[in-house]
């Protein structure tokens, strides 16, 4: 198999030809904030706008999940411009989330906490005015609880539900601020075609989908 060598944050890395920067970095222990990306996806949706990195020779920061590695590429994940963009994106995301970590089962394993730590941002960031969605919690499934207020609309659950399992119960509805991950006609999970495999819960980066037994992974 053809390999490509590149440098990320001064570290020399060998990876597969055609790989994206994000996965090459993560595989080699270099963390880049990301929410919407899934390793198995053929093409990243690149909607979370958090994985910005700087590539030498490119004028603007690029999203690591869409940028393919090239021979001799030099990547800087901690460039000022990339971090500025990632921080703004993250703070905008936080501005519509409740951030009630003290009462959230996901606390400790939440991707948002990890990203906030990495970007050196307070989870109670005051930069943007808080605007909450105040949507009802769906408690109807016997396996998990869905709290759309904690959803970051990354689409991971939607993707696994249809691609990995071929079910397609989950999807997006509405537009703009009203956009939600939901079922057909917004029916509760308990009444939907959901087969309760729990894969959507396993890929959820936040506390939006959580198992009822309080665990974050399925047993």
């Amino acid at each position: 198999m053809k390999t490509v060598s590149l440098t990320i944050d001064g570290k020399k890395i060998e990876t597969r030809h055609g790989e994206k920067i994000l996965w090459a970095a993560l595989e080699n222990g270099i963390y880049i904030p990301n929410l919407c990306g899934l390793r198995d996806e053929a093409e990243s949706v690149a909607s979370c706008r958090l994985c910005f990195v700087e590539v030498v020779g490119k004028e603007q920061a690029v999203t690591a999940c869409t940028e393919m590695v090239t021979e001799g590429m030099v990547v800087n994940t901690r460039g000022a411009e990339a971090l500025r963009m990632a921080r703004s994106g993250f703070e905008l995301l936080l501005s519509s989330l409740p951030m009630d970590c003290a009462h959230c089962v996901k606390s400790g394993s939440c991707e948002l906490q990890k990203i906030a730590h990495h970007l050196n941002i307070k989870l109670k960031s005051k930069r943007f005015r808080k605007l909450l969605r105040e949507l009802p919690i769906d408690d109807s499934s016997s396996l998990f609880t869905y709290d759309p207020n904690k959803c970051v609309l990354c689409g991971r659950c939607v993707w696994v539900c249809r691609e990995r399992l071929g079910v397609g119960v989950l999807g997006f509805a509405n537009r703009g601020f009203q956009r939600v991950v939901t079922t057909f006609a917004g029916e509760p999970f308990g009444e939907s075609k959901c087969q309760e495999c729990g894969d959507c819960v396993s890929v959820c980066p936040t506390g939006a989908l959580t198992f009822k037994n309080g665990k974050t992974e399925e047993e």
Partner: protein, 174 residues
């Protein structure tokens, strides 16, 4: 948001009429938009039964049909009422309290934006601008723009409909 308003009889009819529209289309996913437009053209809205039929026909998950319908403003989830109420929330109407007017309609009709009263007398929705900002706040009632619609005028407009209704039933009886 998407209350079921149709009866069983209606559901059968909806399914039949939706299926008739398929005759003109192939099973391509790209046909979703034109199919939705044709079905709404025929039924006046897109009921859940129609969505499921379309999903079956195109062999896509029902949620994908629902997703597209809720994304575009042109699609209705509820049947049109006999009278249409369109509250303007354009810039001028917004400044003049269009939201207060909308709240008044919501309260009086006991429905939310995009919904229809259970008796299918009224349907309520908002519009961006109808081009007569001088009259703000504007509500378009059955296609006719009404100016300076404050909550008291909402009551007045509804009263006029009630009178009309009474007159009609009197004429029918007498």
């Amino acid at each position: 948001m998407n209350k079921k308003v149709s009866t069983t009889e209606e559901q059968v009819k909806i399914r039949q009429e939706t299926k008739q529209i398929f005759k003109r289309f192939g099973k391509k996913r790209g046909n979703l938009m034109p199919i939705l437009q044709k079905v709404q053209g025929k039924l006046g809205y897109l009921p859940q039964e129609a969505m499921l039929e379309i999903a079956d026909f195109l062999e896509i998950p029902g949620i994908d049909v629902y997703s597209v319908i809720t994304f575009y403003n042109q699609f209705r989830l509820n049947p049109p009422g006999r009278h249409s109420i369109r509250v303007c929330l354009g810039t001028a109407c917004h400044m003049k309290g269009g939201y207060i007017t909308l709240d008044a309609w919501k309260r009086r009709l006991d429905i939310d934006r995009g919904e229809t009263t259970p008796d299918r007398e009224f349907d309520l929705d908002s519009v961006a601008c109808v081009g007569c900002c001088v009259m703000a706040p504007v509500t378009v009632v059955d296609g006719k723009p009404q100016g300076k619609v404050e909550p008291t005028k909402v009551d007045g407009l509804l009263l006029a409909f009630e009178h009309e209704q009474e007159k009609k039933s009197k004429n029918e009886n007498g």
